[in-house]
Symmetry: D2
């Protein structure tokens, strides 16, 4: 017998008795609370709650019932444990993509990779090994807007829940990102906000840093500036060339993106302004 | 105007509606829930909850009210934000003690150090700098039982909430520990369960490990076996002598004990069998 | 024009003037020292040196020349920058193997994977994606000795420089290991010497540890006891089931083995008794 | 009998045979090489070597002898194992200073703290506990230049080898720093180059980072831009207020500065342009 598990995500202005009202409603519907995480951001007086519920119930009725009891601005999401659909955008680097493909192959991420799209053909053989669709959409000879339009058309066929930028080395126009608000996850090859922009490992090398890092974040209008999901760092020293720093960095990038995706794909991440609240 | 803040700790057998019943009670007493953390250990079907409450209320009545609604085996603790009282036991090593004394001096731990007790006089000058009572209780020429009795008599004067073993290098009899059940915190100079017992850094050196660590834990009958609170590790390599490993380890020890004490002294740690549940 | 690069590894009893003698010899042969690392273990008065040399020279003559100047027990190895040959042994777990295959595919390890041997068929499809030989050598219905004989016969065909145990879940007889002295690298799913033996994550879960780790080491007669090459750790907490600990551990395992292999395959690791000296 | 130990530091343009020439000279003077570390920065073709020598010898003659064999721009330093003299500058924060004072008290840093200078009186009681001179040099009512002149006058009395800025919260003029070229060590409360400038923890909080860090570096004309010695990081999350981030950061700061000072005071750090080369 399968357990009937749902994840309820709520965020709204803070008010007295919110936890009580939500757990009371679950109680009245005969649901068991498997796990409950809340957080109140006191600076903005804003409330977040993630509840894992077990049981059979009328979703529509439950949500309407909840809605009447919560502040007007409440965002309420109820998600089943169905896999998310994702499309991966990459360029030429295989590290992050290879890691994702292996995890996907062995069913370790809560997602179905629908396709990989790239502006180069380099990664096609790798993707084909795993029998997934690979789309080459060249950026050569077309304007940025047209290139992005071409990608958007492809994406429309797949209708993914999330876009994952697995070292996609081109800057996306805000007009592109707007199609997937809070649904584009990027791995930035640097410990943001240090070394924003191109060639961060070269920058790190020139600055003589002793630690490098990587940052997984949602993309908003300003490429390197969206809400940070996860970060990680690793030690380097004076014997590291810029190339070796990059190599070390790539290991960190793969790890950080995998961690971030796990959180996002398991509905554990809220976006709050330019920050994330992670209820794990 | 001071905020009226209390921490409520509850653990009991798991049952449907516990969170609802607890938050409902808080709601009825007009209390604001500042922070709420729960955890259910599904293996043992056991429930833990830590709630920070704000407001004025009749503590006695509130606790009785709660008690009637919770499973019979429920442990309910309500603690004010008053500082805990601690006595520190040490031997000759100053690292962990020095760190504690500085933190205490600048009011960074939620505790009042009532006294330091040692079986050596080595640390007396350090403790005196901070104008705290130092008691030298020699273990020479007396049986272990008598030595421990002498310490217990001293402790009885202070009636501390917790005993902190800051590198107290003698094994305590179960009969001693029983006086402070779940209230003795030890820092073990090793990454338990590796290198149990004496000279762990020498053991680590001889084994040629590449990482060493330290463990803060509650003491039960078996010295190195109580519930683990926090652990931390650090890298070492073939150039490290046993002495340098010990030096590196001492830094880790101070850090780990400070972290553990912060959790314990802020009422964030539950003991569950031989494990801890930390609701931070 | 390619640079003519060689790595010289020397270990012997310590004596006055060793560095001088070695660098003097290199100087006389017109060689440029690109990199030089030495270490003296003072406890055993033993000397280690790794020198990267650039230039054309008569290898035989150079080595003979060196030999006359060094203590009698000197081990002298001169290795070209040719890739090492490795055979991977696995059982059913894909994490470590998958990671290795991706790195190999993109030429990131200094080795040619000649084949993968397993006592299960589970991983065959994965290995086939990368067009590498996969050999299924069942352990069912045969004695351990016979099973190992069958593997040894296969290995004889490949004559690998190193055997890599990528989560090979069977204990190897000393008689097997003797065929590849100091040439079998294992990843142990635990932070040795804690949790030696089977089910380390279950053991870690039951002990309630706050940090888990993994250990890459050479295999000697006693499976979990060989010289440690690299270790790494990661944080866990009370919310982790034994399964989630294992999942977290697998990430660490892949990373640790990759680091260890990089060191071994680039001739940076000396074995000294039951320890390693790593000159990176 | 004491061992006669000296540390030789050499940096110069790279050339063939440097290691040979240096070790040959040591050999001819009958010296034993206890430890040898070299590094060549290939980008700038620059050579660094740190050698620990044991034996009795005519220093003057040895250095002249060496000089004739090395490139003209060679910097040659020979230091005994005598303690370095340091003066600490602080403002109001006690964390880093407290940590230093404890280490100094127990003879764990290779330095004699000659005095503590501060532009506030806050830390006087702490310094007095350890019976060290404390100088209050107010910045109120005087120009920055005059204030710095007053500090320089004090420093002239002590003639320290290094100045340690233990959370000295004022920017130093280049004219001040010039008196102690490559001899001023600062702890910056941020993971440089992120969050340069004031209130880095507030900046980190507002950016929603998941990791914070600290940086120990030499001070040059541009306060936050000198050569980095050591860095370290720690995890934070959405539950951290800016204050809690700062608290976590202070722990990291103390640790990072202690590590950096150990390296500097044991003559292990070379400055090369705006970077450090650390031969440990």
């Amino acid at each position: 017998m399968t357990r009937n598990i749902h994840t309820l995500l709520i965020d709204c202005n803070d008010a007295k008795g919110l936890i009580y009202k939500i757990t009371d409603t679950a109680y009245r519907y005969g649901l068991n609370i498997v796990l409950n995480r809340e957080f109140v951001d006191h600076e903005t007086a804003y409330f977040f709650m993630r509840t894992v519920l077990e049981g059979d119930f009328d979703h529509q009725k439950f949500l309407q019932d909840l809605k009447t009891q919560l502040p007007e601005n409440a965002n309420i999401r109820l998600s089943s444990d169905q896999k998310k659909k994702i499309v991966v955008l990459a360029t030429k680097e295989h590290h992050v993509l290879g890691d994702l493909l292996i995890r996907h192959e062995f069913d370790e991420i809560n997602a179905e990779i629908q396709a990989v799209i790239s502006n180069h053909e380099t990664l096609e053989p790798l993707v084909q090994k795993f029998e997934l669709p690979f789309h080459f959409v060249s950026h050569l000879g077309v304007e940025r807007e047209e290139h992005e339009e071409n990608i958007l058309k492809l994406l429309a066929q797949y209708n993914p829940d999330y876009l994952v930028l697995a070292k996609y080395m081109r800057i996306l126009n805000p007009s592109f990102v707007e199609h997937y608000p809070n649904r584009v996850v990027n791995i930035h090859h640097s410990f943001l906000p240090a070394f924003v922009g191109a060639n961060p490992y070269q920058q790190a090398y020139e600055r003589g840093v002793k630690i490098i890092g990587a940052t997984a974040h949602f993309v908003n209008n300003d490429l390197d500036e969206g809400p940070i999901i996860t970060q990680s760092t690793g030690s380097v020293n004076h014997t590291y060339s810029a190339e070796k720093m990059a190599r070390t960095g790539k290991e960190i990038e793969s790890r950080v993106l995998a961690e971030a995706l796990q959180l996002v794909l398991e509905d554990k991440v809220f976006i709050h302004g330019n920050k994330t609240v992670i209820l794990d």
